[in-house]
Amino acid sequence: MASEQQTPLLEFRDVQTFYGRIQILKGVNYTVYPGEIVCLLGGNASGKSTTMKTILGIVKPTKGQVLWEGEVINNLRTAERIKRGIATVPENRRLFPHLTVVENLEMGAYTRNDASGIAEDLERVYEYFPKLAERRKQRAGTLSGGEQQMVAFGRALMSRPKLICMDEPSMGLSPALVDQNFELIQQVNEQGVAVFVVEQNANAALSIADRGYVLQGGRLFTEGTAAELLENPELKRAYLGG
């Protein structure tokens, strides 16, 4: 799927970030090629969430470069990044609980101005998740966990992304929902959208990913294809419960 000659969709070059004086990312390098599923594994506080925020532009790197399709985007605003094709499914979904399903989906297309395009994409999301069409006027907070997950995915798709960043898709969810989530990721990926999954549950993530990075204490501990990582003895001990 991914060829090395292609321009990477997203690239981190020696990115370092600080919160005050505390350094979180201590120089990390990632690349994501179009159409790939890449997972980022790591325990609590390894810098996963910060990576996520750095991709979205909510946190700005102190050093190093974030590149999007070969162009440095270190100082680009979040809205600009979304326009260029980055979307997110945040941890715990983070829907707007008092907004209706439609309104939540529309928030995903907030950066766009083409009413007809938005309407089209809305239809596309409904086709994708027929259940949401039934519930379109319902407040998001009243939906079941599985339906909320669909809204979160639908919301990300509304900006016509090239890359979806997925933060902890298994966090706090029942096994059935986790499975649904990973199936959704694969489904979305089959449409040609690259997915960057940040996950603690290494087994689940590696079972769908093409490649993976392992983060520990703000540094990359190891990286490789999913198959390589699954066989890595140290990883087995640390994350796979082996």
Binding site: Y19, R21, I22, I24, N44, A45, S49, T50, H98
Partner: protein, 381 residues
């Protein structure tokens, strides 16, 4: 130690040397200055007007020390604090003026004034202390205004806007003895210098008592509630009792100060108990440093005495002057909370609300807020 090592962090050697002086040196110095100041007046070097400024400043020091207990130590913003001052002042005025022809003994009136304010503090704290910080601030504001409007409207008791006049000076003896002259006359406090020393002694005693209290388990309980109520409660602190104690104690101090104020100024009227006065005391605590006893003392003196000095020097009219003064106070609060929230003289380790938060904590905070803080209202249509 050489001067070189002292200046290693780029500060001047003097500054560094000064900051190494133990705290009691500063206290002693302050007390000496405050104690000697009126002697200059006795010696004819300083006008009596300055002594009056001194007395009022010291009364405001007491008020600030009292407010600091709730605002600085316990973290409860009280915007109606001046109401307790009013309770003390009116209790004194009613018990020691021609209004009802009463002249109770000075010490009894002083104690009773503090007590009345404490009871008021208790009554208001019972239903309100469960409220969140910002709501509590507004409730106390409403309470302060209700008290003031009641004083203004309850003419038979308070003479309304005209106030109560002719409050007798504090006397340790009864009025009958005083007519006889001699020792009894000595026990009347009616000269500015005498008032000054009376209030100064009260302030010093109060500062010592409050410093002791601050460094006791009770002071720590207050601080813990200010820092994190949930954790404090989980560490065994009864929030309602500790907060109530803070409110009642601070009310008592305000009542006490109010009594001294009434005795000193001879006349009291609702004008002295406006919302603005509450804000002024808040301003003193913010400027000096919330939770810092020396800071609060300095804050009160700076904000009360300095404007008077400037006013006398500039010879400005009173009303104009008040406008500029309040304008500056308003701006001062904003500037302080933005740029130096810990105040001029911060409490020993106090760095109010300006932590560098470890993101590892941040990641978890949301979850925990979600767990425990219900009832946060979002915008709804």
């Amino acid at each position: 130690m050489t001067a070189k090592t002292m200046t290693r962090d780029g500060r001047s050697g003097l500054h560094d040397a000064l900051s190494r002086l133990p705290g009691w040196v500063w206290w002693a110095l302050a007390i000496v200055i405050a104690g000697v100041f009126p002697l200059l007046n006795v010696a004819g070097l300083v006008e009596t007007a300055w002594l009056r400024v001194g007395v009022i400043s010291l009364i405001f020091v007491m008020l600030s020390l009292g407010l600091n207990i709730v605002m600085g130590e316990t973290g409860l913003l009280n915007l109606g604090y001046i109401a307790f001052f009013a309770f003390g002042a009116y209790t004194t005025a009613l018990l020691s003026s021609p209004k009802f022809g009463l002249q109770w003994p000075f010490l009894a009136v002083l104690a009773l004034s503090a007590l009345v304010a404490m009871v008021a503090g208790f009554l208001i704290s019972v239903p309100t202390l469960r409220l969140r910080g910002d709501y509590l601030a507004i409730v106390t504001l409403a309470f302060g205004e209700i008290v003031r409007l009641t004083i203004t409207n309850l003419v038979p008791l308070t003479n309304g806007p005209n106030g109560i006049t002719g409050i007798y000076p504090p006397a340790l003896s009864s009025s009958a003895d005083r007519g006889a002259g001699g020792l009894a006359a000595w026990l009347v406090i009616d000269k500015p210098v005498e008032y000054y020393y009376l209030v100064l002694v009260c302030v010093i005693v109060l500062a010592v008592l409050l410093t002791n209290l601050k460094n006791s388990r009770i002071g720590r309980a207050w601080n813990a509630l200010r820092e994190d109520e949930l954790a404090a409660v989980s560490a065994g602190i009864t929030a309602s009792r500790a907060k109530m104690l803070a409110v009642v104690l601070s009310a008592g101090i305000a009542g006490f100060a109010g009594s001294l104020f009434a005795y000193y100024s001879n006349v009291i009227s609702p004008e002295s108990f406006l919302f603005m006065q509450s804000v002024i005391v808040v301003c003193m605590v913010v400027l000096g440093g919330m939770g810092s006893i020396p800071g609060v003392v300095i804050g009160a003196i700076v904000l009360q005495a300095l404007p008077q000095i400037i006013r006398q020097a500039a010879g400005a009219a009173r009303s104009d002057f008040e406008v500029y003064r309040m304008l500056i106070y308003g701006i001062l609060i904003v500037v302080m909370v933005i740029f130096r929230p810990e105040g001029l003289i911060p409490d020993k380790i106090f760095r109010y609300e300006s932590h560098e938060v470890d993101p590892r904590e941040l990641e978890r905070t949301r979850q925990s807020l979600f767990d425990l803080e219900e009832g946060e209202k979002d915008l709804e249509v």
